[in-house]
């Protein structure tokens, strides 16, 4: 049963399980995956946790509008300090503030303080760091993949030290032609869970907007060891979320 506004969370949540710490969402131009990020952000805030959102693609007003239609009030969460929004459209802020690496250090520092504060707080729910998106991080780092990977590594280390989770969006089709897929491959390696949005091989359709494949590596987690690791289902985007269903089950 798909919950109203919840975006058919059942299939996706079932595929994701509960133990995944590092989630990488891959998408392409034909099948944008930002809606997955919105869903995960909504879920993170709804379950009583807190989140840090690193936005390089859009300003706050955009996400506010989108999530509002999904039944989640980002402005309220921001005021209550459950959501910490980093508008990074102007990142890193120019040469006078030091090198790119220094800017990443400062950004990491702020995130780390937030995570620590959340952990020490009374209502210590799950903390989620969401990055939209890694390809743009590479752009603001002026193409320095190493700086981006260093920053992502530190965020990744946070997940194991501080019991928080990391969700990163990356555009897979940008890297499709490169011999060395660099950032994409590294992210796939560190991910516990890879959610890939792709168009249907049969092309555009009114009722089905694409397919999602979820690979849950289940690294050495007892619960996941016997569970299904690879999922594939279709999705249809809606104003208030998305529906997920197996191929052919849509009337």
């Amino acid at each position: 049963m798909e919950e109203y506004g919840g975006g058919g969370g059942d299939l996706l949540s079932e595929a994701m399980g509960s133990a995944a710490r590092v989630v990488v969402v891959e998408d392409c131009v034909e099948a944008p995956g930002a809606f997955v990020l919105h869903l995960l952000l909504k879920r993170a805030l709804a379950s009583g946790g807190a989140a840090a959102f690193l936005a390089l693609a859009q300003p706050f007003s955009y996400y506010d509008r989108v999530l509002r239609k999904m039944g989640c009030n980002l402005s309220l969460h921001r005021r209550n300090e459950r959501l910490h929004f980093f508008e990074l459209l102007g990142f890193p802020g120019g040469a006078r503030e030091g090198t790119i690496a220094d800017s990443f250090v400062r950004l990491y520092n702020e995130i780390q303080r937030l995570v620590e504060a959340n952990r020490a707080g009374e209502n210590a729910g799950q903390f989620t760091v969401v990055i939209d998106d890694a390809s743009l991080l590479e752009v603001v780092a002026l193409g320095s993949v190493n700086d981006v990977l260093d920053f992502l590594h530190y965020c990744f280390a946070l997940t194991s030290e501080m019991n928080c989770s990391l969700v990163v969006l990356i555009h897979e089709d940008i890297y499709a032609d490169e011999e060395n897929m660099g950032l994409l491959l590294h992210l796939r390696y560190i991910a516990d869970l890879v959610i890939k949005a792709a168009p249907l091989s049969t092309g555009l359709a009114a009722d089905v907007h694409g397919q999602l494949s979820v690979v849950n590596k289940g690294t050495f987690s007892e619960q996941r060891a016997k569970a299904q690791k690879v999922w594939n289902f279709h999705f249809k985007g809606k104003e208030n979320g998305a529906d997920f269903f197996y191929p052919g089950t849509r009337h």
């Binding site: 260093d150 397919q211 289940g218 690791k229 690879v230």
Partner: protein, 382 residues
């Protein structure tokens, strides 16, 4: 075989030789299994050290890809108790703060608070903050290794992983580090993990050259339509549950031995399963894929057996027919088959007093298959 590999590492170096080195290679398609293989080898080796069966007195793990606690937790699950771990395992933590960012932040904030979790050195975990400095890394490793026991005792080194190191330092500097470690008088053995698809092909090969053993973790099933989403789901699913563990051991006499096992995840542990028909399978996979056929079919085999070799005595009671390379015209017209060349009938002259020259030819190559890689000198122990 994983046990054979651990045994080689445990036995360590001989006098006058460099330490044995194992390169574990994995790829994205089976990366949890490759990670598991590395953890397994580290844990199995540490158990041998703890039991006093190894040349080394301790293991230094240089951890880039995983938190040190993951190694310790895995080893604990393999029945290594805290005492044994404290005694035999040291971890150089290049995961928590590889570039010193956390320390930089602390210094900027003038916080000397060392109670923060990530900056505390636990007993057998040492945080290392300058991964770009390979020389310093070398001295940190040897310092940790020297601290196991009094006197100049052996220790072994595990690097997880070289791929992460390569983000911070060049191939020559890391090769230099590994070579220096191998030739260090106190290093008993060394093993490392590298993710082959993160680099150009020549990079893992360069590190293979430095090793005496290479263990490749390969996907159990190869999807012909690889890379596309979602591809073959069941293939993907299988490849995350089990993989092939293929080991190449370089022997001292130059021979390369191939071993093969299956490896799979069971619960939160990793297990190995010896395949019964080892050599046949590996030999078959050794035949390079070419556009021409390198194997013989059954018909071809029997035809080959029927070929009459020149100067050879058929010994089947018929008049001796020795083929002298010439085909006389009538015979050639009668016999069109190429596999049974026309023979010139010659009745051998009965032996007379004046002996003519004779050629006695004994075929000795029947048993050996062509292109077999059996080394006739294999039993020599030089």
């Amino acid at each position: 075989m994983a046990e054979a590999v651990v045994r080689c590492l445990r036995d360590g170096r001989l006098d006058g030789e460099h330490a044995p080195a194992l390169a574990v290679e994995g790829s994205l398609q089976c990366c949890p299994l490759a990670a598991g293989a590395m953890l397994h080898i580290a844990a199995a080796f540490a158990s041998q050290v703890a039991a006093g069966k190894a040349q080394a007195r301790g293991l230094v793990v240089v951890a880039f890809d995983r938190s040190p606690l993951v190694y310790l937790e895995f080893m604990r699950r393999r029945s290594l108790d805290t005492n044994a771990l404290d005694r035999c395992v040291r971890i150089l933590d290049c995961y928590s703060d590889p570039l010193g960012w956390k320390q930089k932040i602390q210094n900027q904030q003038h916080q000397g608070n060392s109670a923060k979790q990530f900056s505390t050195n636990k007993e057998n975990i040492t945080v290392y903050r300058s991964v770009k400095d390979v020389t310093k890394l070398m001295s940190s490793v040897t310092e940790l290794g020297g601290g196991f026991e009094e006197g100049k005792k052996y220790f072994s080194v595990a690097v997880d992983s070289i791929s992460s190191m390569l983000r911070h330092a060049s191939v020559p500097s890391i090769s230099g580090l590994l070579t220096n470690l191998r030739s260090h008088e106190q290093v008993s053995s060394i093993f490392w993990m590298i993710h082959s698809d993160l680099h150009e092909p020549k990079v893992p090969r360069a590190f293979e050259c430095l090793s005496t053993m290479v263990a490749c973790v390969e996907p159990a099933l190869v999807d012909p339509v690889c890379g596309e989403s979602p591809g073959n789901l069941s293939v993907l699913e299988q490849n995350y549950s089990k993989a092939k563990f293929i080991v190449r051991l370089k022997r001292r006499n130059g021979r390369v031995k191939h071993l093969y096992e299956d490896l799979y995840i069971e619960g939160n542990d990793i297990k190995f399963d010896s395949a019964p028909s080892v050599s046949i399978e590996v030999n078959q996979s050794l035949v390079p894929k070419a556009q021409f056929n390198l194997e013989l079919s059954e018909k071809e085999r029997s035809d080959r057996a029927n070929v009459v070799l020149p100067f050879e005595h058929q010994g089947n009671g018929e008049p001796i027919r020795i083929y002298d390379g010439r085909r006389s015209l009538p015979e050639a017209q009668r016999d069109l088959s190429l596999t049974a060349p026309a023979l010139v009938d010659e009745i051998k002259a009965p032996k007379s007093g004046t002996a003519k020259g004779e050629i006695h030819y004994f075929r000795d190559s029947d048993d050996e298959q062509p292109d077999s890689d059996e080394d006739p000198d294999d039993d020599l122990d030089i």
